[in-house]
């Protein structure tokens, strides 16, 4: 029997964050939640093909970090990347279209759920090989620094990535080259079906390693949008001002399983319940306690509901890709020819 892992007690420190930022954080969390719930339903309906990895319960991290970013900053994320892609402003219908394999998809149907990319939004890709994007993200950070643009790169990844070689190569490299990058570990305590602490030599799989490599290392409650926004703002600001790389390890929990229809039953029930009680959507109560107008929150919720309905319907109605698309964009000339 696996021992349950409970969340740390909630901090009662109230961070100094503007109301409009808090509303934006709430808007993000709600929209990400609505999207993931719908993606799950459409997967179960057989409309989302292949696989699908949801961020249900983990939305505060993408929301908090994205809200702290500049429009032209870069993000790199993983196969669990719907939330991070949407949080940078990629429209819901383009993401849903991609999940459904439609021409309207953000990659024209050639990427799928695990490879969402929107360069015009700074979303430089969702990568499905554990750890690979961490070293690639370094390259974007290096390039930004050489081009003198002040852009910061953020790389999201899961706790499972902290035991692969590329993670360690990436951290050392980022520090030695003092790159403007922020690594964000979403530690949801479980890799796929195995608890991360049962296969990791240190207590905090990302933060402890990052300290050893000389990165600024921060542990944060990943279910608290304010806390994530606060540490992300500081880490991004540090990177932008030449202060080098940071690691944020955000403790969180996925409400569902690893992927597809996995019910996640390998996890102790009391653990799941304890974390669900710390749902990022609980942020609503804080906003009300701070005296915010409930009507504003309801308007945000209604807008998210309407948008996800519209995005789902648009994706379902969108045409399938032209079959010719299978043969385009292997090369920069647009084609696929390997011979004359």
């Amino acid at each position: 029997m696996v021992q349950a892992r409970f969340p740390e007690p909630v901090s009662d420190e109230l961070l100094d964050i503007e109301d409009k930022t808090r509303l934006e954080l709430y808007r993000q969390v709600v929209r990400l939640r609505r999207f993931e719930e719908r993606a799950y339903r459409l997967f179960m309906d057989g409309l989302v093909k292949g696989t699908s990895h949801l961020s249900l319960g983990m939305e505060a991290i993408a929301a908090g970090v994205a809200t702290a970013m500049r429009e032209d900053d870069y993000t790199f994320c993983t196969y669990r990347g719907h939330a991070h892609t949407l949080a940078r402003g990629v429209p819901m219908d383009a993401v849903m279209g991609e999940l459904l394999g439609r021409q309207s998809g953000v990659c024209g149907g050639k990427g799928g759920s695990m490879h969402l990319t929107s360069v015009e939004h700074g979303v430089m890709g969702s990568y499905a090989i554990i750890g690979a994007h961490l070293v690639i993200a370094n390259g974007a950070a290096w390039s930004a620094s050489e081009r003198g643009t002040g852009q910061v790169t953020v790389a999201f990844f899961g706790d499972g990535a902290t035991n692969i070689g590329a993670f360690h190569e990436a951290l050392n490299f980022a520090k030695v080259w003092e790159l403007p990058i922020v690594f964000v570990c979403e530690n949801n305590l479980w890799m796929e079906y195995t608890p991360i602490d049962s296969v990791t030599a240190v207590e905090h799989p990302a933060a402890d390693r990052a300290s050893a490599y000389g990165l600024e290392s921060i542990i944060v409650d990943g279910n608290d949008p304010d806390a994530v926004y606060d540490v992300a703002s500081r880490a991004i600001g540090r990177a932008r001002s030449g202060g080098g790389p940071s690691m944020i390890e955000a403790k969180t929990y996925r409400h569902g399983g690893h992927s597809r229809a996995d019910p996640g039953t390998y996890r102790p029930e009391e653990e799941v319940e304890a974390w669900k009680a710390r749902d990022p959507l609980g942020y609503r109560d804080r906003l009300l306690a701070l005296g915010m107008d409930e009507a504003e929150l309801v308007a945000i919720e209604d807008e998210a509901d309407a948008d996800i309905d519209a995005a789902s319907e648009a994706a379902k109605a969108a045409p399938l890709p032209d079959l010719e698309a299978a043969y385009t964009n292997v090369w920069a000339d647009g084609g696929w020819s390997w011979r004359n």
Binding site: M124, N138, A332
Partner: protein
């Protein structure tokens, strides 16, 4: 005025030519700076271009290629050195699964103008883990361009083309060729990827060779001439894109084909060339399609053993005699 320079010096000249032309070209890799590279092929570049554009890295092949990829997708044109091509195995994910697929997966949103240059192949008695000819690995993956020059002039021209190309290019420098010399004219040299070169004309048999095997094929052609066999030698120069036209046209003329490959036999590039000729020039053939390769074994270290297994001039001659008889 043509100057006689080594293949090694051609590497430096090629990189310098492109770095002078384009400020977005950077060179990174293990020991490429102060040390001038383990084969001294980048010596002097640090002095000319400084430590920002010629930058040493840790021994972290994934980090090197990741840096190159991320930089290429955001505005630089990096050249990344992987010291020995054998080490590509430690970062093959970056090459085959990330670089090769990203343009396609993103439906063209991402462009990756980068070059991976690497010392490839045997002949230096380095043993099985520092001598592999691995260009076939790259050839098997859609989305990668694969180049392997045989002489200093082609090295410069093809390297320039690789740097200017908007797709990821694996540039295999055959390490036993570094001390060999060739004539190179002054001024900028730029060639076209995907163009094979007929380095010797003939009428009886077409020999297709790559990198270190080109010189051997030419020597074999000399010996065959003494036996009254006229061999045409094609330096393939790049595997992807593949200049099928030059091969097919030559075989239509000679009616016989021999490939000379340094790689171990199974799934070598020659099998692709042979199948192409079988499909598209079958009715022109007058003899068995023949492949001369390293046997399907790892490379041994001892000089006597390595010489035994790499394709020799004699084995190429024998292969051609078999093809024409």
């Amino acid at each position: 005025m043509a100057e006689l320079i080594t293949y090694r010096d051609a590497v430096k000249r090629a990189i310098a030519q492109e770095m002078r032309r384009d400020d977005s070209v950077y060179l990174i890799g293990e020991d490429v700076g102060d040390a001038g590279g383990v084969f001294k092929a980048t010596k002097g570049l640090l002095d000319e271009f400084g430590p920002v554009r010629v930058r040493d890295t840790p021994i972290s092949e994934e980090a090197i290629l990741g840096a190159a990829m991320g930089a290429a997708m955001t505005g630089l044109r990096p050249i990344a050195e992987i010291m020995f091509s054998d080490f590509l195995a430690t970062c093959w994910d970056l090459v085959a699964v990330e670089m090769a697929k990203t343009r396609y997966m993103t439906d063209g949103q991402v462009t990756l103008p980068l070059v991976i240059r690497t010392a490839n192949g045997g002949g230096l008695r380095f043993g099985a883990q520092h001598s592999q000819a691995v260009e076939n690995w790259a050839m098997a993956v859609p989305g990668l361009k694969v180049v392997a020059p045989s002489n200093p002039h082609d090295l410069i021209g093809l390297f320039a083309a690789a740097v200017r190309d908007d797709d990821p290019v694996l540039f295999f420098e055959q390490k036993s060729l570094y001390p060999t010399k060739g004539h190179v004219e002054e001024g900028e040299i730029v060639e076209e990827l995907g163009t094979a070169k007929i380095v010797r004309s003939g009428t009886d048999v077409t020999i297709v060779a790559l990198a270190s095997m080109v010189r051997r094929a030419e020597q074999a052609a000399d010996e065959l001439a003494e036996q009254g066999i006229s061999a045409e030698v094609i330096d393939l120069r790049s595997l992807v894109p593949l200049d099928a036209t030059t091969i097919i046209e030559s075989v239509v003329k000679t009616s016989r084909l021999v490939t000379v490959e340094e790689n171990p036999r199974l799934c070598g590039w020659g099998s692709e060339v042979v199948s192409l000729v079988a499909e598209e020039a079958f009715w022109h053939l007058d003899g068995p399609l023949t492949r001369v390769t390293t046997p399907h074994i790892p490379l041994p270290s001892a000089d006597a053993l390595e010489d035994e297994v790499l394709p020799s001039v004699q084995r190429i001659v024998d292969g051609c005699v078999k093809a024409v008889s």
